[in-house]
Symmetry: C2
DNA sequence: CGGAATCCTTATTGATACTG
DNA sequence: CAGTATCAATAAGGATTCCG
């Protein structure tokens, strides 16, 4: 999601920061509560450490996520959403609702087809 | 955006149907009014015919876009959003607004940095 | 625990030329 | 006009190994 997009509406910029496979869900998990690296990894079955750290870094760069490292042993790092991140999560709400209904709709259609 | 996503919220399904570089903007253009193939091509600078038709087909398959072909010479095809597509566009509204504000914010920061 | 570094596979996107 | 067909490029995503 790094290529330039000739969008004339805000959808473009929004997708640039939240697009891709993981960012939206990561941000969502941080909306629930601050979480540690390992916690996120467990919550996102299938994500590799590389992707997780990469996405977190990009989210951080874009000002959506906050990273706080505690210099302890064993090391501990906590990620949380920033204020800006919270506003994005809010804007994502209706889309999440839509997706929920859509998924149910698709599921219902599938059951009917299977018999 | 075809890989399975382990999302537990509606964001996953939503991104599966609207994710990628072009779908959201295409749908947005069709929200303004029904449009012809060539019209969309002009409105989306940078998109290739291949991508345009591909994305349109997928949107059609997912029930978001309607395709109506008029058997004339020269051929004419009109694409429009379905009712479901309209609900998705509505859900996309807040995200578009957010992106708008974000883009302005980023732009302002850039200007300041440049001096 | 929380990464970094490397290599590799697949998915997405694009350029170009051609057709009914 | 509204597409198809091919081929090429790039980006996204993932597996593995290693480190402080």
């Amino acid at each position: 999601m790094k290529a330039k997009k000739p969008y004339n509406c805000g959808i473009g910029p929004a997708f640039e920061v939240i697009g891709g496979k993981w960012k939206a869900v990561i941000l969502w998990e941080l909306h629930v509560q601050p979480r540690r690296f390992g916690e996120l990894k467990r919550l996102l079955p299938g994500i590799s450490e590389k992707m997780l750290i990469q996405q977190l870094r990009e989210l951080e760069t874009d000002g959506l996520v906050n990273r706080e490292a505690f210099h302890e042993v064993p090391p501990r790092v906590e990620y949380s959403e920033t204020k800006l991140g919270a506003t994005l999560n809010a804007a994502l709400g209706p889309l999440a609702d839509w997706g929920d209904r859509y998924a149910k709709r698709v599921e219902a259609a599938r059951k009917k087809a299977d018999g």
